[in-house]
Amino acid sequence: MRSNQLDATGQLAAGVAHEVKNPLMTLLIGIQYLKTYGKVEDEKVLGLLDDMWLAVKRADSVVRGLLDLSREREFVWKEHDPNELVERTLGLMKHDIDRHRIVLVREYEEELPPLVADGYRIQQVLINLIGNAIDVMPNGGTITVRTHGADLQGSMRGEGTGGGTGARVDGIAIVIEDTGPGIPAHVLDRVFEAFFTTKGKEHGTGLGLAVSQRLVRMHGGTLGLENLPSGARATVLLPLQPEGVERGGEETDSGG
């Protein structure tokens, strides 16, 4: 049901994006013109123009999210060191993490096998998940980022994914835990729906998790969310070698 919803959304997205971005451009230029040349001195009007600017940027971010849903851009499959991929993402988010006084705990399993993935896409997923964790802890908290080998085949047989002694590691788990308020039960069932958001119109487009889940699935993986006694946990499970994907060579860049 949900994947059908997303596919239908995706087909519409490119056309909608084109039709919406043109009027948005007229508005952006018009607002900037009024602010620069409109001889506006009334603070209330200037404030209104600032709000209008933000509203247009927000509409644009919704459209960009829609493009993400629809985009069948070619994936760049490369071998990545999973821990490096996570670490690079954290580097991108350092400013946000510091600004919100978040304590970051890293629990990386060492010497993980290489992961064949589109590094940019996986970073995009991690940015969404870590960004959500930051958002639910506006007054600070702890984010724990954990990596470990996973036995995906075993998990499909109901044996858990923790690549313990003797387990066959055929995947990687990237786990992000926060110490926020957790996900309300009535919300948990809907978090992956496109346009569903609890962040309010100012902060969320309701596309982050929908896009993230789609990207993880395109890697043959799964994205799970669950509540903890104190906080929430997101678990990204990725196969080391996605089915039908040829190994594209060593990782070469920052994946950006």
Binding site: H18, M25, T26, L28, Q32, Y33, T36
Partner: protein
């Protein structure tokens, strides 16, 4: 006072061309001509002899890419630098400055006026215009 630079803006959305014209002319350094029917853009360019052309990519009948190629084939327009505007890509996909379509720089709609001004200035500067 230096002579104003002539800028041709071609976009089938008349609200966009009006807004761009208003904004650029308010800057005081540019004379702007706008065209909404891309089929008439080549003739307009020949009459106007712009220093720079801003072309929308997705337009009915004649798209921006084809228009740029037609301009490049005209001896009196072949040196006119072009900036493309497109609603079909995201800013993030541009990967920062310097990305091009067919060798021309481009901006993703909705374009922020300051970004458009900066690209106009750098493009005119690069061509000695």
């Amino acid at each position: 006072m230096a002579e104003k630079k002539r800028i041709l803006v071609v976009d089938d959305e008349d609200t966009i061309t009006r807004a761009v014209q208003l904004y650029l002319e308010a800057e005081g350094r540019y004379e702007v001509r706008t065209v909404n029917d891309p089929g008439r853009a080549l003739q307009a360019a020949r009459e106007f002899q712009p220093d720079l052309a801003i072309l929308d990519i997705v337009m009915p009948r004649v798209d921006g890419g084809e228009l740029a190629a037609r301009m490049a084939a005209q001896p009196d327009l072949s040196d006119v630098p072009v900036i493309f505007l497109t609603a079909l890509v995201k800013e993030a996909e541009l990967g920062g400055q310097g990305k091009t379509i067919g060798g021309y720089p481009f901006l993703a709609k909705p374009v922020e006026p300051t970004d458009l001004l900066a690209l106009i200035e750098s493009t005119l500067g690069a061509t000695g215009g």
